[in-house]
Symmetry: C2
Subunit: 233 residues, 2 copies
DNA sequence: CGATTACTTGAGACCAATCAAAAGACGTGG
DNA sequence: CCACGTCTTTTGATTGGTCTCAAGTAATCG
């Protein structure tokens, strides 16, 4: 999952495609806190998330960390490069994953249909990452957090049913490392949104979107104008 | 071209693979300043850069711009998503491009060999973009500029021969929008590097790397320590 | 050569980072 | 179930890096 601009959100729906009923794939179950793979591991499987949430991270020698993306239902994780994973992948909440052996994706015995779908998935991934560039490079803290909440609500509404609630299975520092901020700034920004009446924080991992339009406006860089504030108060 | 971490720089070399001598591809020539395609255009061709430099950009409604990447020799540009380009692509310096019709890449009449290479290229692209996330989200201005110069030197040394010279065909604001900075900060940072004796600026578009190791150290977040400064002065 | 654009440099403001501490959540064992 | 220690989150005070606004200088192009 990346933070994408709204015009692209429709294509997110296509991330969620029916899981294959092929012999090549096996459903596996992973517990929260477990690890799928580490950076540098040889790639033997690709995974499509059926349920649960994953976290993909890279770490520099000096300890700085970047959360590359979160793996939400429908997302595919484990794209290889030169046969190796290039992120760590950890499980945030108990997850069911569809695992595809790499052997079924390449070589002579590869399933051409699967191969094609993998390419399509990779191309969607590239598009989503490009949007994310814009977010990391050009958006302010409040725009980042608002965007994040919008995407999260969008992605999870299909699952949880409720359209105005966002579940945050990840920690504040995960969010910070995803958005290119610090935990303090993420926390402060959430508090600001709460004090403005735009969101409510039921508990640390549950945010209710009280004013979706205002939140969306903020995510697009529209400051809180008169009518927005009027509605918010 | 993305700003990648050093361990991945080797894989960059693989970007430069021999151009295909297939009927599916045609070499085309483009003049500096011309446009290859705009965001939203229907994708009919993919391009591999043989010579010259391209610029891929996205723009928000409010005018904020992000340079997604620069297309250097060996790079492939024009990855489709839902059949559309999702960046603008402009030509910075006269370029020769290998053009592949999309029809030769997909469908029944697609060349499976080409298809496979496209997937590999897409996977490399994803890996490089992940590195770039780290740069956009977690690096300081000086680290960004130093990293940029390092990658540029690396990528261009194969072409221009000289290993310690970087040609900057793009404007300062292109660099800024690529690194998530302002033109002023880019300019200031280059001046700082020049005043420290780490680089020389022959002209606006030509930078000579005087102290490659120091520059590399800076790109990795190592401040200028004693011996670095000693060498620099 | 003049006009326009691009780049550099400076001064000040502001946003987010840092440092620090308190409040809250969580798990563990008594 | 509560007490305790630990970790996470929140909030505060301050610093600092980058942006903004503004002016000057250099490059480019007709």
């Amino acid at each position: 999952m990346y933070v994408t601009i709204p015009s692209e959100q429709l294509s997110n729906a296509q991330h969620i495609r029916p899981a294959h009923k092929r012999t090549a794939s096996i459903t596996k179950v992973f517990k929260a806190g477990s690890n799928l793979y580490y950076e540098g591991d040889k790639v033997e499987r690709l995974y499509q998330v059926q349920s649960g949430v994953l976290r993909l991270t890279r770490i520099l020698e000096d300890g700085r960390r970047q959360v590359i993306s979160f793996g939400f239902p429908g997302d595919i994780v484990g794209f290889p490069c030169n046969g190796r994973y290039h992120t760590d992948c950890d499980v945030l909440t108990d997850a069911r994953l569809q695992a595809y052996h790499l052997s079924s994706l390449e070589g002579e015995n590869g399933d051409p249909e699967l191969h094609k779908e993998l390419l399509q998935a990779a191309l969607r991934e590239i598009s989503a990452m490009q949007d994310h560039f814009m977010m990391l490079g050009r958006k302010s803290a409040i725009e980042k957090v608002a965007s994040f909440l919008c995407v999260l609500t969008e992605r999870m509404s299909a699952e949880s049913g409720s359209r105005n609630q966002a579940l945050l299975p990840m920690s504040r520092s995960d969010i910070a490392d995803f958005l290119g901020l610090t935990t303090e700034t993420v926390s402060r920004t959430l508090s600001l949104l709460r004090n403005s009446g735009i969101i409510a924080i039921n508990n640390v991992h549950t945010v209710v979107i009280l004013q979706p339009h205002v939140l969306f406006g903020l995510s697009q860089g529209h400051g809180m104008d008169q009518q927005s504030l009027a509605r918010a108060c």
